[in-house]
């Protein structure tokens, strides 16, 4: 069991739920990813997704796409994200998931070079959102050999039988998209009850749910059904706002994590 699997396993035993924030590697500045990971752990995150910045992220809204562009402009490369993760790996216990476009994974050696480097850098799992099931066999297999979890995304547009296949093809957890569309905050809490229940009939794997989840209340609504809530744009925006107004982005990220964790059951809210 790697860190991600262990986190879900432990949570299940005590009927707890997980908070999985997303941050953009190299944002707000190169060198900050390591300290941010530690801050998210202090705030109550169990697993963190690190987005490797890509110039053309078609599944991302303006907040995350903007952060990625700024990170790239500031000189962030996939290798620098790997180095930053590795630099704090021994000091943190949280699971790390690399969220990366297949464009980058392919250029950096694909199932061999890229996945091996991800593992060496202390990552525990991989999500390649634009690598659909049909194209993913070789990556999935190699992740298994390397001890990396590999999670498929299940969309509201995914038919039932396909969702079952996606769950079977995943390890660690399945990523249920709370909505159609791109990443970005929404004001209303998503209603995922039915879709989670349908997916549960197809898999025992933990279900993490994300896209548009921005507040403790959203987290509460989601983890009433799913095993984990993923918070991306809201986290990135909080970090950006802090950096832009002379505040400490690390403190801001920790504070938001605490706020969001208040939506987990058993946490004094």
């Amino acid at each position: 069991m790697n860190r991600i699997e262990r986190a879900f396993h432990t949570a299940r035993q005590s009927d707890a739920r997980l908070l999985m924030p997303f941050i953009c590697g190299g944002f707000p500045r190169p060198g900050m990813t390591g300290p941010l990971l530690a801050a998210l752990e202090r705030g109550g995150a169990s697993v963190v997704e690190i987005g490797i910045p890509f110039s053309d992220p078609i599944a991302d809204g303006p907040v995350i796409a903007g952060a990625m562009h700024k990170a790239i402009e500031a000189g962030t490369t996939p290798e620098r994200v790997f180095e930053e993760a590795l630099s704090v790996r021994d000091t943190i216990g949280i699971g790390l998931v690399a969220m990366v476009s297949v464009s980058i994974a392919h250029r950096l050696g694909g199932r061999e070079g890229f996945l091996a480097r991800t593992r060496e850098s202390g990552f525990d799992g991989v999500i390649i959102p634009d690598l659909p099931f049909e194209e993913s066999g070789a990556y999935r297999e190699r992740c298994g050999e390397l001890g990396l979890t590999f999670s498929h995304l299940v969309a509201p547009t995914t038919p039932r039988d396909r969702a079952a296949a996606l769950a079977k093809g995943s390890t660690g957890f399945v990523y249920l998209l709370a909505r159609t569309g791109i990443t970005g905050e929404r004001s209303d809490a998503p209603d995922v009850a039915e879709r989670v229940a349908a997916l549960r009939r197809a898999t025992d794997l933990p279900i993490a749910c994300g896209f548009g989840i921005a507040t403790a209340e959203h987290v509460r609504a989601v983890v009433a059904h799913a095993d984990a809530a993923i918070v991306g744009s809201a986290m990135v925006r909080r970090i950006e706002r802090a950096a832009g107004s002379g505040l400490d982005p690390i403190e801001a990220a920790e504070a938001l994590t605490r706020e969001l964790a208040a939506g987990l059951p058993g946490t004094p809210g």
Binding site: A65, P78, T157
Partner: protein, 414 residues
């Protein structure tokens, strides 16, 4: 008695893509899960209608009465004379123009959008979106949307909206909403990103009319098939007027749809030389051109594996061309397949050569070409000058240049 299995027939180069959208190693479908169901539906609907004679009849009728097909194959005598003298030998091939500039809306793009509009209708969707560079695909989509009564939003880079202003006005007149994209390089790649993002939200009731032979399967297949009318007509016209096939066919390559459309019906005719012309921009330096087949490497962009201009970290590289329709870092997967197979050769014409060809065609033949097309003209003149007098070269005159007159005036200092 056992019989040895018959050796599998050598796969024909035209027999692509396979079920998964592969052209050899290229193509495929690299998209977020949210879009998978829509691409499946499109694939299924297209498979069904491609066997449905009524679909093609309906399209042919539109092409005849609305687009004005067949477009002429025109013998360009004064351009031929120029090519022969410029070649330095006084000899050279006869140059013919396949007049896609005479198709309704002024470019080949309408061939694709009418076909995809019929598909949209068959999928019961009431809204279409498109990306556009030169604005020709945007205008062609807006035109089809008006003709079929669809709501239409077109994404266009802000830089392209500036340099192709005429087409912005045309799209608005046709009732489309033009969304200017300010991100990245503010050109075609960024417009494509935004169109895909829109589709991620709207996929259940919106069809994305992709404008070239790029993107995830089945777009490269559908767009090639719809544009192949150009090559089929050219072939029939050559057989009728020359009694034989041409010796060479030349087309410009942005995403590669006008080129794929005129090449595809000839790919099994090995004696016909096929030449694609990419945008050489200012120079061969990274960031100064838009020629992925010449200077790129296989990589994934906008849903398919193909030659692409990327940096060593996988980030899409900046590109430049004076022509908004060629100013794109990727190219259709079938072109990558043809390049590797050696079936099509790819050349480069730079900004200067394209601008020269723009005025050359205007002054020798009275035809003002699009700046995209001018790249093909530039190389065709060069190539014709190396050929023999009894040979024939067809250039795909993919579009007219009205949209480019202001940008050309600026670049030429008029």
């Amino acid at each position: 008695m056992t019989t040895a299995p018959a050796p599998a027939p050598a796969p024909r180069i035209s027999d692509v893509p396979d079920e998964r959208g592969r052209f050899g190693p290229y193509g495929g479908s690299y998209v977020p899960e949210t879009l998978v169901a829509a691409l499946r539906q499109l694939d299924e609907v297209y498979r069904r209608v491609s066997r449905d004679e009524r679909f093609w009849e309906e399209l042919r009728e539109l092409e005849r009465t609305f687009t004005g097909r067949p477009t002429p194959l025109y013998r360009a005598d004064r351009l031929t004379a120029h090519a022969r003298s410029a070649g330095g030998r006084g000899h050279g091939a006869t140059v013919w123009l396949k007049r896609e500039d005479l198709a309704h809306t002024g470019a080949h793009k309408i061939n694709n959008t009418l076909g995809q509009a019929l598909l949209t209708q068959r999928m019961n969707k009431g809204r279409v979106i498109a990306e556009t560079g030169a604005g020709q695909h945007g205008v062609a989509t807006a035109t089809a949307a008006a003709r079929f009564g669809f709501q239409c939003d077109v994404y266009m880079g802000a830089e392209d909206a500036r340099r192709q202003r005429l087409n912005v006005v045309r799209m608005k007149a046709l009732g489309a909403r033009v969304v200017e994209v300010e991100s990245g390089s503010r050109t075609l790649k960024d417009a494509t990103n935004e169109a895909m993002r829109d589709w991620m939200e709207s996929v259940e009731h919106t069809h994305y009319i992709l404008g070239s032979v790029v993107g995830p399967h089945p777009f490269p297949l559908i767009v090639r098939d719809l544009q192949s009318i150009i090559g089929r007509e050219t072939k029939a016209q050559c057989l009728r007027t020359l009694g034989r096939l041409p010796d060479a066919v030349v087309a410009c390559v942005g995403g590669g749809s006008n080129a794929a459309g005129i090449f595809y019906p000839f790919v099994e005719d090995e004696k016909v030389r096929l030449v694609g012309v990419e945008a050489g921009g200012r120079s061969n330096e990274p960031g100064q051109h838009a020629a992925p087949l010449a200077f790129g490497a296989p990589g994934i962009l906008h849903g398919s594996l193909s030659y692409v201009l990327q940096d060593e970290h996988g980030q899409t590289a900046p590109v430049h061309s004076c022509s908004a329709g060629l100013d794109y870092p990727g190219v259709g997967p079938e072109h990558s397949f043809w390049k590797d197979a050696g079936r099509v050769t790819y050349a480069v014409a730079d900004d200067r050569q394209a601008l020269d060809a723009f005025t050359l065609l205007a002054r020798t033949e009275g035809i003002i070409p699009a700046l995209e097309t001018a790249h093909a003209i530039a190389h065709a003149v060069r190539l014709a000058g190396t050929m023999n007098d009894d040979q024939h070269l067809v250039v795909n005159c993919s579009g007219r240049g009205d949209k480019d007159v202001e940008e050309a005036a600026r670049l030429l200092g008029w």
